[in-house]
Amino acid sequence: MKTHEYQAKEILKSYGIPVPEGRVATSAEEAAEVAKALGEGKFVVKSQVHAGGRGKAGGIKVAEGIEGVRKAASSILGMKLVSKQTGPEGKIVSRVLVEKGIDIGRELYLGMLVDRDRAKVVVIASSEGGMEIEEVAARSPEKIIREYIDPTVGLMPFQCREMGYSLGLAPAEVGKFAKIVTGCFNAFAQNDMSLVEINPLVVTKGGDMIALDAKLIADDNGLFRHKSLAELRDFTEEDWREVEAGKHDLNYIGLDGSIGCLVNGAGLAMATMDIIKFCGAMPANFLDVGGSASVDAVTAGFKIILSDPRVKAVLVNIFGGIMRCDLVAQSIVAAAKDVEIKVPLVVRLQGTNAEIGRKILKDSGLTIIPAATMDEAAGKAVEALL
């Protein structure tokens, strides 16, 4: 689960990490009021969207005084922000974070994530802050410092000191840095995060350390035990079909192609998308109905696919283990009563109760193109597009 910059900063602030003074605003007027409350001088107005590359896209503006903030907020709010990370459709900005400007001395990088291979949390730090860390890693790998956290004892103070001195920080700065790393680790561990990133972590001209930008991504699997964190989820940033699918415990991801897919199992669902491409077309979506989805859930999945105007044919690929093919067949028949199936429907059922499932479909009177194997199904779906 992603969070906005302003939410990430609030959380990190509660763990003792210094952040710029600021508040979020949803209108130019409100932005001006925030600036007024913060005093005169230089401000930064930052669009709040779940994507990077905001600066280059014109979504971050430096502003002088209250009027400057009002103008900047006015130009950013409502804009369609398009960056490498948003894709060509972009995102509409509905919130801005208004902050007091900071005198930037140096920019560092600090991040924390899970290293899958070592099965440990790793802290990554670099003196090259304020840029894409992957670029730094590719160009100058020696500038990336890593400390792995022992699962039994957690982050140790000596690890923070090692990183601080390796970054070339002065002794007085090392203490401040250690406090920030520790705060980040506590935020990470106590909230089941999968990423905590401060880029840049600014050392001001006056010697203070401040998180100029912050990013927090929570582990979806941990949200059940962090209700208030889960409430920070911004549904407006998500595709409505994915939100709808989530309500039925379905995994749906919208893509660009014309063949809608309904499959049981994530690996099989990906493989189904792949075989569609192999046969010359593109999938319209990824949809995993899981191992034990109910008739209602599968019906809901069907409706989501059928509501997509891009879909010109539907491919159902079910290998029933726990999932029963007759249940899937029932769902298809039920969905067809609610939503008119105007596009060709190819159904491949294999495994548990496949015979019963096929009979249910045959007797339903619906126009269904049956297939026995995956390639037959994909071939027929692609053919049906013509």
Binding site: G222, N264, G291
Partner: protein
């Protein structure tokens, strides 16, 4: 032979009185697995299909001689269940549960490293040694006994591959679902090592997917240490960057973990990679055919 489990393995089902645990315990018993009992805290003393239910895994080990465990416990309590089994000396722990928080799995890995238990999963369909022992949720009847080891990060895609092999009359020794999570107990390399040593396994089918570096690590191992042929399929060529494709571990991050890159490395290691998921069985058949 076979790897990890066989007809002598004694299985306890953690969560046996729950819906999923109960259903699959019955299926395992029907397959011929030696299920010796179940564990549900608070329901010790009850019976399940004539088998004893225990309050603790420790009791199941000492009183029913359990040597393996199958865990059907919800995500909030699953890590605890795995650690309980390890602490009780259970040698093979199969965790079916999907949705365990990643920080819990970090603790589990560290805990298990000191206790000598092998964990399979989590978020996996389990492991089956054909004709001898099934610990998990895979449909037993699609499997045939034969010379191919199957190794997969997926569930239903594994069944698809097994079904293709069986229809070609190419049977399997042991099939392991290692699971779709980013942090798991048994990786490709661990299992490949066992298949290489297993006298009954002549070839291996490896089913991978996007995310992480399991296939890359496997490639290195296959190149340097495997004499037996390996055929693979990697799912997710059409997966977009940065999205979690169902499995928690199936995510392309910062351009890393893509299917084409994994395929490239596997092919460089001498692995034949099926171009389509419908050709996994036929690709293996061709390789076995050439071998003879």
């Amino acid at each position: 032979m076979s790897i990890i489990i066989d007809s002598s393995t004694r299985v306890v089902v953690q969560g046996i009185t729950g819906e999923a645990g109960g259903f699959h315990a019955k299926q395992m018993i029907a397959y011929g697995t030696k299920v010796v009992g179940g564990v549900t805290p608070g329901k010790g003393g009850q019976k399940f299909e004539g088998l004893p239910v225990f309050n603790t895994v420790r009791a199941a080990v000492s009183e029913a001689g359990a040597s393996a465990s199958c865990i059907f416990v919800p995500p909030a309590f699953a890590a605890d269940a795995i650690m309980e089994a390890a602490d009780a000396g259970v040698k093979v722990i199969v965790a079916i549960t999907e949705g365990i928080p990643i920080l819990d799995m970090i603790k589990v890995r560290s805990y298990l490293a000191e206790r000598g238990s092998r964990l399979i999963g989590p978020n996996c369909p389990g492991i089956i040694t054909v004709g001898e022992c099934k610990i998990g949720i895979m449909p037993g009847d699609i499997h045939k006994k034969g010379p191919v080891g199957v190794l997969s990060r997926s569930g239903t895609l594994t069944y698809e591959a097994v079904d293709q092999l069986s229809r070609l009359n190419i049977g399997q020794t042991t099939c392991i679902g290692i699971g779709g999570d980013p942090i798991i107990g048994t990786g490709f390399v661990d299992a490949l090592e066992l298949f290489e040593k297993d006298g009954a396994t002549e070839a291996v089918v490896l089913i991978g997917e996007i995310g992480g570096s399991a296939e890359e690590d496997a490639s290195r191992f296959i190149k340097e240490k495997m004499s037996k042929p390996v055929v693979a399929f990697v799912a997710g060529r059409t997966a977009p960057e940065g999205r979690r494709m169902g499995h928690a571990g199936a995510i392309i991050s910062g351009g890393k973990g893509t299917a084409p890159e994994k395929v490239r490395m596997l092919e460089e290691a001498g692995v034949r990679v099926a171009p389509s998921p419908a050709e996994i069985g036929s690709t293996l058949a061709a390789v076995l055919g050439k071998k003879k």
